[in-house]
Amino acid sequence: MNATAAELGLLACGTCGLLSRAPAAPGAACPRCHARLAFRKPGSIGHCWAYLVAAMALYVPANTLPIMHTSSLFGSSEDTILSGVLFLWESGSWVLALIVFLASIVIPLVKIIALAVLAASVQLGWRARRGERARLYRLVESIGRWSMLDIFVVALLVALVQLTALAAVRAGPAAPAFGAVVVLTMAAAQSFDPRLIWDGERPAA
């Protein structure tokens, strides 16, 4: 067997995996789970770029604006994501500092760059390194969710320290920007269709 489903006019359902013969009318539903069928995700590259550009724009305020305000009897302070990492580092929690740095700063950036490279490579019709690009896509898909880490930390700190008389923690304007980056990069990864990487390859005999 040396053909893709699309080459034989077969549609693979993206939700349940069932193969069905392509119907004459576009926009048909899977006979088994009723998900919408398409040879490739419609508008995959366009949607991916749209999400990516929005994510790039919001990545800047997410990292430069404060994500948390802390006020107490001894004064008040503001934390950006990076200063939160530095706080953990200086207080001796090196492992956690590294984890937060990876999840909040490195992963979103790696995701945006990797998806931009993947989308451009499909548009430019690259033939090289298909296996590596497929692996890159799987990496991007599996690490994306970890960026939510800092949002959860802020949410819990806000809940714990908002009601005390001695101190108060408030979420800063970077929080919605950062949440949006997480959602947008996850949406970009899901709208990218990895099958586009392989289209046009003649499978070796």
Binding site: A5, G131, M148, F152, V158, A171, P176
Partner: protein, 201 residues
Amino acid sequence: MNRAQLLACPECDLLQHDAPLPRPRKALCARCGAVLYQRARGGLERTLALTVTALVLLALANAFPILTLELQDERTTATLAGAAAALWSQGMPLVAMLVLFMALVMPLAELAALAYLLVPLARGIRAPGFGAVFRLLRFASRWGTVEVFVLGALVSLVKLGHVADVEPGVALGSYGALMLVMAAIEASFDPRELWSRIAPA
């Protein structure tokens, strides 16, 4: 050519023979290396047992505090719902909803959908709306982030522990256990078995 014996790789579309795996393991695409399917030990009965366990853990995880803070004579606790409510009251409704969605609503939807499909199936009945609930299951498992939330709670514990007296609550343990059980569900669930039971090929 018999279509029932073929499957297409979800990530590169290459058609491959659907040979049954002799032992519990994952089948990988010959061209791009994506997981084609997994044959799990224990089958759907194990998935159902794990799902019921996970639902109980999720209930515990939301009934008890995740973290408790003691500052002078004051004592405050944080639950997931409390965290979302606090964000909401600070004028961050979207962030509040995002937290609630990814740490509670999506995991709950995933588990409820699994139970809805698997409980009637154990008696050989196809639940109404099977396809729609299956699609919900797929969507919810992509957007639920229980394991990230557990790490977030640990980071909060350490971060605040430097300046105040913080203790982990019952719900942190429950969420940690839930994380492990959900990973086991992922490893035991074979959607192909689900479909073969309702429509024998």
